[in-house]
Symmetry: C2
């Protein structure tokens, strides 16, 4: 399934470690689901959440955003549309490059385990079929350039973020995300607080092909409208999906 980024304006982030209702009809009106979290997340509860969404909305695209490689299994990979891996611009180097090289090194050197293909690896030699499986897996992995602006958040703590970016740095990171790193997603994360439209406006002027997401503190229709007017492709709504369905509905444009 190709993501239809053009009709994206509302994204729901589901934490598989939180309660996921069996009846997901409130997802009617969202355009994309991202499944991911840190504490308590496993490949099993991730798969369970993805399958619940897919069974009720087969055409709704679902990304898995893994925080650790233990959140990924061959079944989650097969079931989601993409694995979306955060690259945190203002985090420590582990969260921009080191974790990614580890992930791809693991995929490249143990293709049978990572792809679950049972393809043979003889000594250090990787068979051409296993290489194909790895390359296919790699095409399912996309990069999300993240800027985390709330330094008191859990997201900041786990990514080594100590200082928010200035508005100018947000614009520079956006330009780098699109033209240098080629990330399909650029994500401004205010994680639990509403950050307003300033960073979004700065980033959006340099983003053409890369999709601009804003997340953090969205609770009203007006906030959604303000962020979309500033140039975001979509708002990401997480907490109130789990906590407050009525409020969640108000965030849909």
């Amino acid at each position: 399934m190709d993501l239809n980024w053009d009709r994206l304006s509302h994204v729901t982030k589901i934490d598989p470690a939180e309660h996921v209702p069996n009846d997901l009809e409130l997802l009617d009106g969202t355009d994309l689901v991202i499944v991911g979290g840190s504490d308590g997340v496993t490949a099993e509860n991730t798969l369970d959440a993805v399958q619940k969404v897919k069974s009720q909305f087969p055409d709704l695209p679902v990304l898995q955003e893994p925080y650790r490689s233990s959140h990924v299994s061959s079944k989650t990979v097969d079931t989601v549309d993409y694995l979306s891996v955060p690259a945190v611009f203002n985090g420590d180097d582990a969260h921009f490059v080191r974790k990614h090289v580890e992930l791809f090194t693991e995929a490249a050197s143990k293709p049978d385990e990572v792809t679950g293909s049972g393809l043979p690896v003889v000594g250090d030699a990787i068979s051409s079929k296993a290489r194909e499986a790895v390359s296919e897996l790699a095409t399912k992995i996309i990069g999300e350039g993240y800027v985390i602006q709330n330094c008191d958040s859990k997201a900041a703590a786990v990514s080594g973020v100590e200082t928010p970016y200035t508005t100018e740095e947000v614009a520079g990171a956006a330009l780098a995300a699109e033209s240098f790193y080629g990330f399909p997603i650029f994500y401004i994360e205010y994680s639990g607080t509403y950050g307003g439209p300033t960073d979004v406006a700065a980033a959006s002027q340099y983003l053409d092909e890369t999709v601009l997401l804003y997340g953090g503190g969205i609770e009203t229709h007006e906030q959604t409208a303000e962020i979309l007017d500033a140039g975001a492709d979509a708002v990401v709504v997480g907490d109130c999906f789990h906590d407050d369905p009525e409020q969640y509905r108000q965030t849909i444009p």
Copy 2:
């Protein structure tokens, strides 16, 4: 000019701080020139070297590989085919992400200075023409994923490289360079010593669209052949271009 990567097998790296002969006929047979270095390099001597090459070989593509933003001027940008900016996988975080965000932040916030366009910036507002100039500049900047394997080299010292990658990590970094970061170039740098074909073979199995370059200690036709046979798109020859024209000629396949 679009680079014709398909017919690439020999690349010459010219250090503009070293002596660049006026008669460059020995470049006949190379497919691409990279101009860059660290000590003594300026925007002026870079431009001089690029213009010498372009005046004798107008169709030979030339990349500028700047180490500092002071090596770049609006004239070097206009004269070269691409600005090729190293992202050193096994370097410190300054050389993978921080320097790039600084570069793009500068470009995004001071478009008149960076593009030399004299386009007006009113307060913090960047005019749409200036934004276009920045976006155009950005399309000229391409990423080179680097792995520096000789830790005693100058290149390692200036990039914060302390440990070479294992062969498995080289393969993982190659896979990440192509499928995650989307870098058009992956460069295995043995800088002054001949590293042999092992890393090249490991990387090449995961590179399809990304061009694989090998540099370091190439002095003979046999070494060139061994590296190309292992799957590199091209060898990069630097030192002997300046020091020993006869030896340089022997590296051309």
